[in-house]
Amino acid sequence: MSKKLEIIVLAIVLIFAIQFIYMSSTTDAEYMGADGQAEDAIKEATGGTYEPVAEPLWEPPSSEIESLLFGLQAAIGAGVLGYFLGYYRAKKRYENDLARKGINKSEGDSQSL
């Protein structure tokens, strides 16, 4: 199977990674969340008077806990993704094997004990 698409995707990810390494070492960008910036823009637009109409019911007590829960989210997703792609892959292989055996059945029978 040709790996053309994999190579293109890898190249895109590499360009992105190199850009990040270069940018983060040459500028003092903070890499904060874009939603935090939006929050600041809202405060600016409303003259600093804006009070959120609601607070989160629960907030991760620290950034460690937050990254734990983000990591958990990605892990759950990756697990499900791998399980079902593997399931389909194996299923297809067995089906192909069975089909091949079906075609060569007479031959197979004559060779079996």
Partner: protein
Amino acid sequence: MHIMEGFLDTPWWQLWFAVSIPVILYGIYKMNRLVSEKREILPLLAVAGAFIFVLSALKLPSVSGSCSHPTGTGIAAIMFGPAISAVLGTIVLLYQALFLAHGGLTTLGANVFSMGIAGPLAAYIVYKAGMKARINFYFVVFLATAIGDWVTYGVTSTQLALAYPQGGILTFEGFLAQLKVFGAIFGLTQLPLAIMEGAVSALLFKYVVNVKSDILVEMKVIEAAVVRKLRGSSA
């Protein structure tokens, strides 16, 4: 990056709920019907949902010196259409609102609209148009999912600009001026992430086509002739 809890005032958060809830309900209805008709699509539904889980958990650094995350909803939109994507998107947004204080419950309606409805709708339209124009399948998937990602954040910017126009009252000029502010924050940050999302989505589609193309043909996502061509060239 979704709209934060409490950062949409009355009447905006109610309005976006009013728009999103009917679509979610229709999506649930459509999903139930699809699953009861074809049980064998369940794993594919899980794959599409899991992809959203993975991608929206990855906060990536961008050229603008800030971080944002892709959405992952384009795959679901191409396979199942925008309504079912809205249901899958809602599950992820609920998880993030409840456990991560990322997004929020009052802003859930607005966030479902941008990430679950508008983005997937854009991806779906681009996909259908691209397939009709007989452009290379993986390139169409790339375009559709990347544009879907970008539209999501364009809609987020629009929602915020509508709620917080410059000058405090909603005029067209005030809206446009503020759209530029939010567009600069989200639009630029999201551009490289959208390209990555498109690339990874195309790759996932390659694997799905490899192992389970019959179901995609049956669901009329992709034509049998296109599958044969992809298998032949096996890109």
